[in-house]
Symmetry: C2
Subunit: 325 residues, 2 copies
Amino acid sequence: MSVSIKDVARAAGVSTSTVSRALGKGPVSAEVLRRVESAVLATGYRPNLAARQLRSQRSMAVGLIVADIRNPFFTQLSRAVEDAAYAAGMRVLLCNTDEDPAREAMYLELMAEERVSGLIMTPTRHLSPAALARVGRPVVLVDRAMPETDFDSIVLDNARASAELVDHLVASGRRRIAGLFGSTSATGMERRAEVEAALERHGLPARSALSLPSFDAGHAALAELLEREMPDALILSNGLFVRAALKLCHERRIAIPAQLALAGFDDEVWTDLVDPGITVIRQPVEEFGREAMQALLARIGAAKMRPRRVVLAGELIVRGSTAPV
Amino acid sequence: MSVSIKDVARAAGVSTSTVSRALGKGPVSAEVLRRVESAVLATGYRPNLAARQLRSQRSMAVGLIVADIRNPFFTQLSRAVEDAAYAAGMRVLLCNTDEDPAREAMYLELMAEERVSGLIMTPTRHLSPAALARVGRPVVLVDRAMPETDFDSIVLDNARASAELVDHLVASGRRRIAGLFGSTSATGMERRAEVEAALERHGLPARSALSLPSFDAGHAALAELLEREMPDALILSNGLFVRAALKLCHERRIAIPAQLALAGFDDEVWTDLVDPGITVIRQPVEEFGREAMQALLARIGAAKMRPRRVVLAGELIVRGSTAPV
DNA sequence: CATGTCACTGCAAACGTTTCCAGTTTCTGG
DNA sequence: CCAGAAACTGGAAACGTTTGCAGTGACATG
């Protein structure tokens, strides 16, 4: 049916071992190499990756587990990871957990079955390090990782970014600052803590809420938050929440920035298209992806290394949504 | 090293064949099934997918080749495909061509090597049917497909959508209607032809330009287009172009809809957050993905079927960007 | 000339499954 | 009670590679 290495060997008049070595990096004579190459062309041979993987016990595939690819942050991340992976001759298996620990666990299983050579993921808060270790492959955590984790991790400097946001809002005259943070991730928790700490440094009260990181959940949480006691500024811990906040302001005819200032994480494509533009922390997402892949390849190469943590700085982009009143 | 089916067989006191049947759907006694299941648990066995694929010649993976996952249309599409695929017990291999025929060809090669059991793709205009057939796997085209293609395809009713856009703009008083269309896809070509036909039916002149489907290229093309002769309405054949047009209007302080009406394809998340909201054709993207996967599975099941074409209707969503002046 | 080294090659054994085949037991109908 | 079918099981042969081992010559070194 399909043409195998045997057909190539026959066409080139050599053994299958020699073909294998000619295609790989084993030592072969120039003459044989030439014959094998033309035999490959003549027969239209394509190596069977399953056979190769079975024999060599290496898969040339990495897993990428994110919450939801439709979140632009993860979209960008995945694209960067794919590019880096293909450049290194590896393929990517993408999974969406929808922040559901059960799906997360299922996909970890699947990755183990696939014998991926490594794993990049944005874990939920509920994933135990033990479960992660049980996968038995190198793992790199991106965007979300407890500070004291045993795995390599690439994260934003959340302390600095949170402080910058708070400082900026205070400088622009806001005093009643509320925040909404993702409830499922270590990152959400971290940003909340850092925002509260920064507020405390200014001697201001902290009003923070948690929500599942989805547009609808965020929208509902914000509605409730604004209901209780109207703040004069809102800090949103991710792009979905920023969008939900903006939508809510439109619906309630809340004037930005006059009545309410808006600032958050993630510089999505539309943040400078709306009026006023939204003040955000831009995260170096592409760099997250590249660094993650690089860390993973290093880890695959040398399993025994102390876990490495890469902390990247965000960039505060000031727009009209936080203009002084 | 890793635990194989042999270990399970030994633990359960049966042969490997029986374990295989117990795990698959072969006939086994209840007693043996029980023993095998507990042996699997006890040993922590995970089937080796490479071995399974090698032996059974089936890969349980489908390829998905799109232009760029960062385009929200493809993001949504890929998510829908993934969901449908995982539901059917299949994995997805995602590739981004960036509209580059060379990369497209390379990924087709790769898919062949992977022995994917099927392929879903949004081809560039330059991909020859012959090259596609050479992959030797079932292929389903999504979003982009010549009407007379030999492959299954899922497409938008571009004729109707284009006519609706034109009719709406004319009804709202516009007469100098220009369009920008993606140059790399059959869809861009089709929409251009249909828009021009609709304009002709109204006895109006057609002014259309082509551009690579990226934000920057679209932005540049639009700048040039507006330079030459200012239209009173713009039709944009994809979400990137809509965004580029809006950005350009902001930069040039062109008033929407007073000076220029904006309408296009793809209802991205921000189209109702900007002011005025953008009039668009909403495409049933999730349905594209589901239908594509379903068609692919059908085709995998029965190779010999006449090619089937699914045409889905878009929905015109009228917003302020095309309000009558 | 003897010896060792080196570059190259082929043989054959894996890698972990599934599946064909044949064999054994148990059930069913007459 | 027998024949035949049906249900279940194990043995062994694949699937297409890579790779350890051993063998061949060629060539340099002493």
